[in-house]
Subunit: 354 residues, 2 copies
């Protein structure tokens, strides 16, 4: 199943292979397609923390495999108490990598439940069940992307010109992507005319990753600076805006890459539909609204010296939140694998995936 | 007079010195403070075209000095017909460097009027009168900045936190700046609490130039990515937005650095005053509205490989307008050296400077 992902995309963001997690180091893109093998949970945690692996759904998938790695090389007769400590530590370590993406905590919660159910009696069984669950999370995400792509495509008119932000494709998920999965599906369905891709400061995921993926998919697109998006809306060029999400509160307020909120206000001003695409694992029913979503802060260096290029004088004060909150009132619809949800949003516990 | 500018700012964007134009190469900032001597009109044209000299008012000043350089090294007995051709060519060359800034054409028009008045009879007199006019344009701009600073400061409440975009300081004008001149004056008047500086893609004038200037002025500021501005507005942190202008149409529609329009829409959405600060030489009464303002396109490289840093895959399509148009309805007031103009805007021929 996972191999088929690799075939259809010609690259693979994460892949379980011969007892380790093979991942594409996204920090090197587009200059270099470098695959790395993670053999411990610490390797995975570091890859997530450093954004070698990124994208809310993909972070969840990778973290699940990280738990498998935590029990991977223990001897058959490992002490049950030690095994428990090891899994608990891995859950804590992986849960501490990035604070905003809901999928991370959701995936770790699924892994914890398997651990609680299987227990420490037989390490071979535990290993096998944990791997089954991680692969299930991975495969489910692939299927969810496919369904999101189909539901989202139904919302678009013919010859749509869509603006997107950040990266929400195969590099951010276990499948064809969320917002970008809709673009890929709409393109195959001959409904998509053109994509405008925000470069997405500070880490340029649009320029580095989305441009790279859309090129591979042969989808026609134009790269713009983030500040050019309002100009295109003003000129009537944009049919719809579709973005992903890192966490969606119960009332529909959505945390996504910094810049998303501004796009939503501008879409509202210009009467352009603004869609959020995400699997239900991104919905956090424990969070009533956007104010309760923690926002990760990024380092000053990414603004003053992106990839080593000195832009600003040394030592200047920088404020760089990684995400912003788009209030539900600015979101035309939320597209999940279960269908298209329109306002009013009220996501309950059972609205989430398994 | 010009030397005093250099003293108070501790750097000098352009300066007439011993028969040539000395300028600070802004492309090298903030890493290097490199001064260059322009000895021909072609040198000046190339400096403007390459953005070594930039900022609408400063472009006008530099172009005026460029006309002086065109007649600088001609022999006393130069053929009058050749002299005329030379000046005409210099006017055309300098007028072709950048299409949007109104001040460029306004300054060249002043130089042409001096040439028409003085004629080709006495080259020494012509040289002297052209230099007088260029220095007058320079000095007037310095004084206009001072007045804009004072008028603008009156609009601000105490403890204001102001967001600005691009660079509008001593590096963009012949004085303390337009929008930034207001920040400097408000800071000295104890009305300014803090400045947020947009980095301003694609050329990072906020990160490279405004951050450098505000550091030298000891004005407290925080550098942000362009996409972070909406987040700050949403959180109620911004008291006012002040930007400069490259050209203002008769109805108040304003061309300014790409991203300005988005800020204006967001300011409107959040009920934040949005001010444009510019000398009257930026107003183009020949242009009825924003649609008639030509918009310069920048090269793809600035987006895909800023300063040589490869971000996007090679060969991707890029759309990069240098400016956008903010409709007059989104502008709370336009601050010129003649005072604060509030809507409805109707700038007539006589509203412009000499």
């Amino acid at each position: 199943m996972i191999e088929s992902v690799a075939r259809t995309k010609s690259y693979c963001a994460v892949e379980w292979k011969e007892g380790h997690l093979r991942y594409l180091d996204q920090r090197k893109l587009p200059r270099e397609e470098r695959y790395v093998e993670a053999t411990t949970e610490s390797d995975v945690a570091e890859a997530i923390r450093s954004l070698a692996i990124r994208g809310a759904p993909l972070i969840g998938i990778a973290a699940a495999y990280g738990i498998v790695l935590a029990v991977q090389r223990l001897p058959e007769d490992a002490d049950p108490a030690m095994l428990r400590v090891r899994v608990e530590r891995a859950l804590t370590l992986l849960g501490s990598t990035r604070p905003t993406a809901a999928n991370l905590f959701w995936a770790l919660d699924r892994m914890r439940k398997v651990f609680d159910r299987v227990g420490t009696g037989n390490i071979e069984t535990l290993r096998s069940r944990l791997l089954d669950e991680a692969m299930r999370i991975h495969r489910e995400d692939e299927e969810q992307c496919r369904r999101i792509g189909e539901f989202g495509t139904q919302l678009l008119p013919l010859a749509a010109t869509v603006l997107t932000h950040c990266n929400t494709g195969g590099l951010a998920t276990g499948g064809i992507g969320t917002a970008q999965g809709i673009l890929a599906t709409a393109w195959r369905s001959h409904k998509l005319k053109h994509v405008y891709v925000d470069e997405t400061r500070p880490l340029f995921q649009g320029a580095r990753l989305t441009a790279w993926e859309l090129s591979k998919l042969h989808i026609p697109f134009t790269l713009i600076t983030d500040s050019t998006a309002p100009f295109l809306m003003q000129r009537g060029i944009i049919t719809a805006i579709i973005v992903g999400a890192d966490r969606i509160a119960r009332n529909g307020d959505t945390a996504n890459k910094i810049g998303t909120y501004g796009l939503a206000v501008l879409a509202h001003h210009h009467g352009i539909p603004f869609y959020v695409a995400a699997p239900r694992s991104t919905i956090d029913p424990a969070v009533p609204d956007g104010e309760a979503i923690p926002i990760e802060q990024r380092s000053a260096d990414e603004v003053t010296r992106p990839f080593g290029l000195q832009l600003a004088p040394d030592g200047v004060d920088v404020y760089s939140p990684a995400f912003d909150i788009t209030p539900h009132g600015l979101i035309s619809a939320i597209i999940t694998e279960a269908g298209v949800v329109k306002p009013p949003y009220e996501f309950l516990e059972h609205s989430r995936g398994a």
